[in-house]
């Protein structure tokens, strides 16, 4: 479950980096469209993967609850980091 959470955080980070604004913050240059697309795609895939991991550990009902409640944490963490 912890592993799934970690992957969730990474996925959210990827999604954030896929956005021009945050990419600029980190690398001081605008993101190339291709990179942005790639980052977003991996972000979404990782997000799905983290959910899959959670389901494989806890079973779908409980995993959904965990996953959805952890999501705010990772998003807020990222929002605090990204600024």
């Amino acid at each position: 479950m912890l592993f799934s959470f970690l992957i969730q955080v990474i996925a959210i980070a990827m999604l954030a980096l896929g956005m021009n604004k945050h990419f600029k913050n980190v690398f001081n240059r605008p993101v190339k469209p291709l990179h942005s697309k790639g980052l977003k795609l991996t972000g979404w895939l990782l997000l799905v993967f983290s959910y899959y991991l959670a389901v494989s550990v806890l079973g779908a009902p409980m995993a959904t609850v965990y996953w959805l409640l952890l999501l705010p944490l990772s998003i807020f963490y990222m929002a605090l980091l990204a600024n």
């Binding site: 956005m19 409980m62 999501l71 705010p72 944490l73 990222m78 929002a79 990204a82 600024n83």
Partner: protein, 543 residues
Amino acid sequence: MKPDFRRTMIWLHTYTGLLLGWLLFAIFLTGTLSYFNDEISQWMQPELSAHQQHENMINISLARLKAQGTDVDKWRIDLPGQRNNQWRLQWQKGKERQSLYLQGESGEQVTPRATQGGNFFRTFHYTLELRNYGGRYIAGIAAMFMLLALFSGIFTHRRFFRDFFTLRKKAVLKTLTDFHALAGIVTIPFCLMICASALIIYIGLYMPWSAQHYLDGGTRELNQKVTTYLPKLEPGSAYREPISDFSVIAGQVAKLWPENPNINRITVEQPFAANGRIIVERTRKLSLSNKSEVLVFSSHSGEPLAGMPPERIARKIRRIFYGLHEGHFAQPGLRWLFFISGLLSSALIASGLVIWLYKRLEKVKQRHAGHFIVERLNIAGIAGLLLAIIGYFYANRLLPVDIDERARLEIGAFLFIWLVSLQHSLFRPANKAWFEQLSLASLACLLLPVIDIIQEPSRLMRAIEQHNLIYLGFELALLVTGLLLYKTVKALLVKPKQVKQKQVKQKQVKQKQVKQKQGKEDKKVTLKHKLKRINAGSKADVV
């Protein structure tokens, strides 16, 4: 058409939020607290010591209950578990019910102080202390409005999706708006679940028409028909001595429930009849549904009897919503996550209210009565509620133990303090009222553990000895809340020259952040519970 749609959505969001915002804040905050219902109750009844379930417990209970006479219709044994420390016996003759609390290895009787404990928050969050005056209807309407506000909020803060993860830190109002939008988006699943399940729990109250039309008995008959029960006991059965050694059943329970054999409650129906039965209920852990998982045994032989038949899908859906709302299945980690989500939603509502006010105050030169009312209600609704909650805990410690109507008085204190805070906010300048109420809340939070120690030092010592993390955690949570409130207040004092409105805004933001942090820090704290124990211990030493 499109911009018009957005405009109506913004209007809807603004005014549904404003109209019921304070009510929703109170409901969400008290509801969030009731995730720790049992833990709060445990702190509020310090007479009961923490104890593990031990093997003799059930046999002692059975012996005690047998001594109550053979004409008793029903026994109930509530066993302490991971979260609560109540070892309670109840017996029922006809309609008359009596109960007593036990503790210790040999089960001596204790009388804890009369209090509603954490249950008060639970009942308050849906009845608003107005059970007979339509409180539950009001709460239902509030839930409906919350759903509407959520939906329209998506369109109102549409711009936020474009730069997700942004918290503009320069202007306070902007930070607050960003926080509001971000919190709104991340708590959508949580709020949806909470509001929808709230409506579904009281479905019979809010939407009784279909059942009334198709069934003669209305919603009552509907409930009876969709719920499965154990078969009814035939009266007039021969006398049989009930079992006194529970191990016969305990072995079977362990075999039938290998993955979670923790027993939560044992009910014995018609204990002295030949067809009497023992119903064993386990703690909820594995399923989201709120259907109790039971095993049934004969009361005199311990033979297994037919259990409860499973329910059909419609009832199961409702059960799952119910279970999700209550979160009884949640283990500590998950419980904290629920708690944090609840705090975030409360912060979402509060920040929305504050934004409403200051967006308007920025634009207008001349304030009118509406601004005044909203401003005061913000203070009383947010800071005042915090004060009232803390005041409730104070009342629990400071009221004499043997006073009449004690539980009522505690609730009276809660309501009274809230009222006083409203009055106070009416007669003070807004920023002063914020400052005073928040600093008072902070001080009160910090002092409460101290008062607890002065009053009865042995409680804390016992909690440390018994590794009672719940008791210590509660005190620590109070200290952390107090410190964070103090920081908020201090942050306000640093910039006294700023415009009054801005100051209040600042306070608000901080308060939100405080709440957030509080949730997070508390979580960290549980993770490092060992550290916590040491911490609390050293604090006790200092005092």
